[in-house]
Symmetry: C2
Subunit: 240 residues, 2 copies
DNA sequence: CGGATCTTTGAGCGGGGTCAAATTAGGTGG
DNA sequence: CCACCTAATTTGACCCCGCTCAAAGATCCG
C-alpha cells in the first residue's frame, strides 16, 4: 500500500504554480535548489503516512485532498482536519521518530515529498524559508484552535454551516468556486471532524437546504445564500 | 492592567532551572546570550497578552499557571489550554501583526519575555535553538489534536478523568506530586476546555469520588487509584 | 463578619445519539 | 451499457446524556 512514485528530479508541472495560488505558502522552487524534492501519487483511500511509521519527510499537497486522523491505542479515532493543494503535512510529527497520526487520501493526489533533515538544514541557510515554515506551523495551531472554538460553542447545524463556509473559503483561495463545490469526504468524516454523528450531519444538511441556504445532492453542494449562512453560523451562542 | 516589570538583565534565579525540570524545553541561558530576556510578574486574573494586541514577543512560563482562550467576534469563547512552568506562549501568533488569542494568569506568575524578531535572528545563528522552537511548536499541535480526540470520543466523566491524569502527569514532569495537587483553574474553565458545562464537571468529579478513584475538596485533588482512573478514562468508545 | 464568587446538588427537559430501515450512489464484471 | 452488489446517505422513531434552571452551601477576600 505504498504511494506510487511518479518522477524523480524536477516535476513536469510548473513548480511555481504552488506558490501562485497559495498565499504565504512554501516556495517549492526555492526549496528544490537545496533539497531533493520527489513527487508521489497517492490513490484514493491510501495512506500518505500512518501512525508509527518512521518520520522522514514533510509533504506538500500539490493536487487532491486528504484527511488527517488522530487515533488512540484503544481504537478511538477522530478526523482532525482536511488538507488540500498548498497545505503542508507532517509538521505535527517534527521532533518524533515516527509520525503521530494518519493521513489518508480522499481522492487521487499528487504530493511533494520534502525529506526532513535536509529541509531543516535548508532552513538554516535560508531565513526566508525558515520563516515560511514557522508561519505555516503557527497557522496550523491557529486553525486547530479556531475549530475547537467552533465545535465547542456552536450547535450541530451551525457547525455544519461553518464547515461548508470554511470549505468554500478555501476553495476560493485556490481560485476555484467558493459557492459550488464537491465535498471530497463522506458524512462520517465530516461528522468525526465536527464531533457529531453522520446521521446528524445528514439531517443538518437537509435542514439547511429546507431553510433555503444551500442545495445538497450527495457530495455536491451549492451555497445559495452565503451571507445568510454566515449570519446563521455565527449567531451568538448555541441556537436551538 | 499591564504586567509588572520585575528586573532587567539576568534574573536573580538560577536560569538553568528552567531547563532542568523541562525535558526538550527552551534553554533560557543560551537564549540570554543572544537576546534581551526580561522577566515579568503577572498577577492572578491579569492578561499576559490579549487578542488584537501587537505581537512583539514569545513568553516562557517560569512560575505560576495560565489559561489560553480563543474568542470569536460575537463573544463566543473557549479555553484552549492551561500552561505552566516551562511552557512556551505566543507561538500561535507568529506571522501575525497582533496576538490571536487571550492568555490570562490563573495565579501570580513569573514570565520570561522573549522579544520576537530577535529570537528569530538568534535561531538562525543557533541551529540547536531553532530545533527547540520548532519541536515546541510541533508538540503544541500534537497536544491540541490529542485533546480534540479526547473531547470527541470520551463521555463527560471520562474527559474529566483524562483531564486529571493529564494535570497529574504534567505536575510529575515538573518534579511535583502527580497524585495530589491543587487545581489552579475553576470549574468553568475546566468545563470550557472539555466542552462541558461547569455543573457537569462538578457532577463528574463527585461521581469519580463516589467510585473511589479520587478525592476532591474544591480545588484540592488526590488521585487515589491512578491506574483504575487510567483504565476508566481510556475505556474504548464513550461509556454510558 | 459580610458579600461576591465558586461549587455542589436536584429536578426536568431536549438536542443529538442510537437503532433501524429505505433509498441512492458508486464501482465492477459481464 | 446495464445488472448487480456494496457502501454511502437519508429519514424515522425513540431514548438518554448532558444541559438548563434553580437553589443551597463553600470559599475567598477585604
Amino acid at each position: 500500500m505504498n504511494p506510487q512514485f511518479v518522477s524523480p528530479g524536477p516535476s513536469a508541472l510548473p513548480a511555481r504554480e504552488i506558490f501562485r495560488n497559495v498565499p504565504h505558502g512554501v516556495d517549492i522552487d526555492q526549496l528544490r535548489r537545496h533539497v531533493l524534492v520527489t513527487q508521489w501519487r497517492v490513490r484514493a483511500g491510501q495512506y500518505l503516512y500512518r501512525n508509527g511509521q518512521a518520520f522522514r519527510a514533510l509533504y506538500l499537497v500539490h493536487a487532491g485532498s486528504l484527511k488527517t486522523c488522530e487515533l488512540a491505542d484503544d481504537g478511538r479515532e477522530r478526523v482532525t482536519g482536511f488538507r488540500m493543494r498548498g497545505d503542508l503535512l507532517g509538521v505535527e510529527s517534527i521532533g518524533l521518530d515516527a509520525y503521530g497520526c494518519d493521513v489518508i487520501a480522499l481522492e487521487d493526489c499528487v504530493i511533494f515529498e520534502l525529506p526532513y533533515p535536509p529541509v531543516l538544514v535548508a532552513c538554516q541557510q535560508l531565513p526566508e524559508l525558515q520563516a515560511r515554515f514557522t508561519e505555516a506551523m503557527a497557522r496550523e495551531i491557529r486553525h486547530d484552535r479556531s475549530w475547537m472554538l467552533t465545535v465547542g460553542t456552536l450547535s450541530a447545524e451551525q457547525r455544519v454551516a461553518a464547515f461548508l463556509l470554511d470549505i468554500g473559503a478555501r476553495m476560493m483561495r485556490l481560485g476555484l468556486s467558493g459557492h459550488q463545490f464537491i465535498l471530497r469526504m463522506g458524512r462520517m468524516d465530516i461528522a468525526s471532524f465536527l464531533d457529531l454523528k453522520h446521521e446528524t450531519v445528514s439531517r443538518a444538511l437537509s435542514r439547511l437546504e429546507a431553510l433555503g441556504y444551500i442545495t445538497v445532492r450527495c457530495r455536491e453542494v451549492k451555497l445559495r445564500e452565503p451571507s445568510e449562512l454566515r449570519v446563521y453560523a455565527s449567531a451568538s451562542r448555541k441556537v436551538h
